[in-house]
Amino acid sequence: MWEALEQSGWVKTFGSTGWMYASVSVIHYLTMFWFIGSIAVVDLRVMGVAARKRNVAELADQIFPWAWTGMALAIVSGFFMFAADAGDWAPDPVFHVKLLMIAISIVFAIIVQRGAPTWAAAPEIPSYAKIIALISLLLWIGTILSASEIPALEGLG
């Protein structure tokens, strides 16, 4: 199935055309940095170490729509890159770890976004919120690490 995807018409063209693959890589890196950095800033704010003057809910409301936009673009561009070598990527265990990390990180990002108005309304940001934000931050760092390990351990990418 994955081999078939790799060999299908548009994927083959995309994977073997240098500038196309490079352009999508640029989009993937840009949007990946963009959305992770955006979420990280909100996490840091919840933890109380960034933009302390600003209301948590206000900052989250300003930043999160950009984060989700960036993430959507990173997922689409990432799928293109996956498709170009689907036969190699699909069975790779470190890639599975990366996908799992992304899934869990997204759940935590949603919790932070939804929690922000409540936490902002409290006299002080609750400790459990800070822990959630810290976990969210660490999960994204873990995601980047698992992504960096793929070429090192598996020679892919």
């Binding site: 640029v26 940095f33 992770i36 800033v41 960096s148 070429p151």
Partner: protein
Amino acid sequence: MHELLVSFAKWLEGTPWAVGVRTSLWAYPFTQLIHFTGLSIWIGTNLALDLRLIGVGKQRETAAQLADDLFAWNWIGFCIVLLGGFLLFSSTATTFLVNVAFQWKLGVLVPLALVWHIIVQRKARAWGQTSDTPIIAKFSGLTEILLWISVITAAVEIPNH
């Protein structure tokens, strides 16, 4: 000048940290992690200000407020980028030095984008006082995004040269 750079690069490659990054299975990805984590904070905070200056997205905060909110972590992110980048460069310094894409990236595009960023960040306080920003602010924000895209493009091209 060139001679000096080459001997500096050779010396760098021989330093203990460069040998560590180059030869250990885990050190290279961890160093990449430092560079990429810094880049996320750097690009994330840069784009937030640029997009707000352009007027794309929500307008809960003014550009001036956002510039103020993000300033500290923007530069913390930059320091992390620099640390990771320096270690990555050290590991194979002589190879990077003769790479055309790397020369463009570090010699031309990064300095240009960096100077532009500093100007935009300083100006944002004046441009971003009201919710609606002047046309020069929109132009400057867009230009900064394009400059960082050119930096990433050069970076992606490094392995192809």
